[in-house]
């Protein structure tokens, strides 16, 4: 099952866990799986089913351009991180 890493400030909503095993074939499905385990968390991660402005999704070491639509494998790691820009 994919592992969704929980940012520190979101951990109080996930019983203090720093990562959670989730189900799903995409990032969005993984987030819904997290929501089923910890109701209310989706509104903080991606309200209205969209990635918040200024946030990015990293799947398996790389920021994905497909955001919540990115496919994930059972071995995938999913991270929600602030979007960054280069110079």
């Amino acid at each position: 099952m994919p592992r969704l890493f929980i940012p520190p400030l979101l951990r109080p909503f996930c019983e203090g866990k720093d990562e959670v095993f989730v189900e799903g074939g995409t990032v969005l499905e993984a987030v819904h799986s997290l929501e089923r385990q910890y109701p209310g968390v989706i509104d903080r991660l991606c309200p209205e089913g969209k990635l918040r402005a200024g946030m990015s999704v990293t799947v398996d070491q790389n920021v994905t351009p497909r955001a919540l639509a990115q496919k994930v494998s059972p071995e995938s790691e999913i991270h929600f991180l602030p979007a960054i820009g280069g110079g």
Binding site: F5, P7, P8, L9, L10, D18, R44, L45, P47, R52, A53, G54, M55, T58, Q61, N62, V63, T64, P65, E77, H79, F80, L81, P82, A83, I84, G85, G86, G87
Partner: protein, 764 residues
């Protein structure tokens, strides 16, 4: 030049080189125009009927705009239009995604023409267009603005205090991870937190702990060409912008959003660009020039002078950073903690997130905690500058590492090799690295002649520093048109700052089996090529190069199909290899088949796009020798070597140029550069005489060592190159100064007065 050139190495050893074009050093396609002065930069653009714009800028760092009276300016003969923020659409609270990051449009609009408040000296308040620049400037001086002065806040820690004057009433502190916002207005726009492992346990296991605080000053990208925009708002509603920019499509989107017109009605034509380094992504002049054009009916050109550039365009932030690191008796890092506050300038958006993610990026940290704050102050809105946020962070971390090495009795090289991040290392923000080359850069420095040559003189010292940058992928598009003589015109949307035209053409040439000289690359306007993200994030050679590779593959497929039809054979029996199309009993080189196909069917046009996300992070390690004058505190650089993991170096000379240029900018940041403000928030050194960037007279040759650890996420192994080399210099210089004279520098820049101050403090 101490370059490790893999292509040359294989040639000398008699082995067949892996590539024919990649790794060679052809003359750049735009070289002749640039060295003869024929290249057209922003201010060279002339449009029929063009008039000239001038900006009225705020003399105050923080004030409410009570009223603006433009009547005297409008009455001046020769004045064609006067604009204030009332002439821009109200942007509401919309957030625009600009490819590399997002922006609150209200903030961007107010930064172009101040609405209710001015937030830094130099903030644009009104603009005039007139028949010539002299009338425009005089008219701007006739505009009467009534201000209600407010106290400015210039220091990041002061701005965080509850008693600080608040710049933006709409700003609330947002928790980056959850989106939750504070109730009250504040200068703290964002809070970030990353944690890994058990920080308390990590420090409990440490034999040595070092905890220090650091300050870095506001510094500018220092591009030589000032900002310029020329705009024509035509009678049919079409807007054309001519400007030197890092991203034509980004300018198009910003202009369209700010002026509330469809993107398709805006065409952005790139001028040649005299440097950007991140500072020519945000718009300052284009929406204003377009508005003046709409009002006057004439094309309008606005050119900044150096004072405008330094006072009013985005620098990189000053910062306050606390670092605490612990190591066990063997030298392994047991815990690392950082607290970081970055100046955002007038509006939110400092690179604090990247700083937080880079601060311990060079090390295997089992237990870590990083906390960051994005803080508004009365300075220009910050913008990107090569590896935004990483240089501040590396200066702090690497300085603590150097002190830990001293306590451990280990050399900085031994310590780094012991603790270096490598494939599989999990950063404190949680992400693991793919194949990366930090260890290889350390080993390259260790094997260098520089490292093996001992220092000889008194007051001389040696320092080492490492740095990391993520690099980016993002979107690029390329179109390849085959001409009737078999040459190729390559259209691309990535504006060329560091020779990328040629680096992209070389990848196309490699893929199709031609020479770089057979390809003519053109950087074209937004109506002439597919969407392409900014020239930034060290992405162009990686991403636009990949699009060019795809365009070549597309052409190959077309050539194979058309040749099979021409030769009346099964397409499965036709291949394309090494610049030749090969059938069962026929073979033709690219040029020959191109000529033949050109007279027997439709034109050959290849299309390539990319949006790949495996840019391969890059590391660099720098070694510097300095000599410190104990009487003046002046630091002279005796020798400098920079090793960098560049993946596959497409054009080694351009890679060396990027490494050298980045190192020089990092040296300037480390030793000289800073914005000087008086207590009213007036910048006192807004010119290149007093804001001192290093010149060739200040520096020895920077030796560049190209380390090639190919990126598995690119057809040719490309990694971004442009940003990493600015990261290590301040840290390496600080270590060298300590080695030379025994003082730890904790504030940038390490200018003569600061070094002398520390020397005198040590003596007393």
């Amino acid at each position: 030049m101490a370059t490790i050139d893999k292509t040359k190495t294989t040639e000398e050893s008699g082995e067949t080189p892996k590539y024919k074009v990649i790794g060679t050093r052809p003359i750049r396609h735009d070289g002749a125009d640039k060295v003869t002065g024929r290249a057209l930069y922003g201010a060279d653009i002339k449009v029929k009927g063009m008039i000239y714009g001038s900006i009225l800028r705020s003399p105050h760092a923080h004030a409410i705009i009570k009223s603006i009276d433009t009547s005297k300016a409008r009455a001046l003969p020769g004045v064609r239009a006067v604009a204030t923020s009332e002439d821009l659409p109200e942007p509401g609270d919309k957030v625009a995604e600009l490819g590399e990051g997002s922006v609150v449009l209200n903030h961007l609009s107010s930064n172009n023409l101040a609405r209710t408040k001015v937030l830094y000296r130099g903030h644009c308040v009104a603009a005039v267009a007139a028949d010539n620049i002299h009338i425009a400037q005089e008219a701007a001086s006739l505009i009467e603005v009534e201000y209600e002065l407010l106290p400015p806040v210039l220091d990041v820690l002061e701005a965080m205090s509850e008693s600080a004057p608040v710049l933006n009433p709409d700003v609330r502190m947002e928790e980056a991870a959850t989106g939750e916002k504070s109730d009250q207005p504040t200068n703290i726009a964002k809070h970030l937190l990353y944690e890994k492992g058990d920080i308390e346990k990590g420090f409990a296991e440490a034999k040595y702990i070092v905890e220090r605080e650091f300050n870095t000053s506001t510094v500018h990208q220092g591009y030589i060409e000032p900002h310029v925009a020329t705009a024509l708002w035509n009678n049919d509603g079409q807007i054309t912008i001519w400007t030197p920019t890092q991203g034509t499509f980004s300018v198009r989107q910003q202009v369209a959003e700010l002026l509330d017109v469809p993107s398709a009605r805006v065409k952005v034509v790139p001028a040649e660009i005299g440097g950007g380094f991140g500072g020519k992504i945000s718009v300052y002049l284009a929406p204003v020039a377009a508005t003046l054009s709409r009002m006057s009916g004439a094309p309008v050109q606005i050119v900044m002078d150096r004072t405008d550039v330094l006072q009013a365009t985005g620098p990189t932030p000053g910062s306050h950073i606390k670092i605490k690191m612990g190591v066990d008796a063997d030298g392994h890092i047991t815990a690392a903690e950082a607290w970081m506050a970055y100046e955002a300038g007038a509006y939110p958006g400092s690179p604090i997130a990247a700083g937080c993610m880079c601060v311990f990026s060079c090390y295997e940290v089992p237990n870590g905690r990083v906390e960051g704050y994005d803080v508004c102050v009365n300075k220009p809105r910050t913008n990107a500058y090569r590896a935004p946020g990483a240089t501040n962070a590396a200066f702090a971390t690497e300085s603590v590492v150097d002190e830990l090495c001293e306590k451990l009795g280990m050399t900085p090289m031994e310590f780094r090799l012991l603790n270096a991040a490598k494939e599989g290392t999990r950063r404190v923000d949680g992400v693991t690295y793919p194949r990366v080359g930090l260890v290889e850069t350390l080993e390259a420095i260790k094997e260098s002649d520089h490292y093996k040559t001992p220092l000889k003189g008194k007051y001389q010292g040696r320092g080492i520093g490492s740095g990391f940058w993520f690099n980016a992928g993002l979107k690029s598009a390329v179109t390849a048109s085959v001409n009737s003589d078999g040459s190729v015109s390559l259209l691309e949307g990535s504006t060329d700052i560091g020779g990328s035209r040629t680096a992209i053409a070389m990848q196309f040439a490699e893929a199709i089996g031609l020479t770089a000289e057979d390809i003519k690359p053109y950087v074209v306007d937004t109506d002439s090529v597919g969407y392409t993200d900014v020239t930034g994030g060290s992405r162009v050679t990686y991403a636009t190069g990949w699009a060019a590779y795809e365009a070549a593959q597309d052409l190959k497929r077309q050539i194979i199909a058309r040749a099979a039809e021409l030769w009346d054979v099964d397409p499965d029996l036709v291949t394309y290899e090494d610049g030749h199309v090969i059938g069962p009993d026929k073979k033709a080189c690219f040029k020959k088949i191109a000529v033949e196909l050109g007279t027997t069917g439709e034109p050959l046009v290849g299309r390539g796009v990319s949006n790949h996300n495996e840019p391969g992070g890059a590391f660099g390690t720098h070694l510097v020798d300095v000599e410190v004058d104990p009487d003046t505190g002046k630091v002279d650089i005796l020798r400098y070597t920079a090793a960098q993991d560049c993946g596959t170096a497409i054009h080694p000379a351009y890679v060396e140029g990027q490494i050298q240029g980045g190192a020089v900018q990092g040296i300037g940041w480390g030793l000289n550069e800073e914005f000087w403000y008086d207590k009213e928030g007036h910048m006192q050194n807004a010119n290149f005489l007093d804001y001192r960037i290093p010149t060739c007279y200040d520096l020895p040759m920077i030796d560049a060592i190209i380390v090639e650890v190919p990126n598995p996420g690119h057809p040719y192994g490309v990694r971004g190159v442009g940003e990493v080399p600015i990261v290590p210099p301040p840290a390496a210089l600080a270590a060298a100064i300590y080695d030379a004279v025994g003082v730890r520098m904790e504030t940038l820049p390490m200018s003569p007065p600061r070094v002398l101050h520390e020397l005198l403090k040590k003596e007393s």
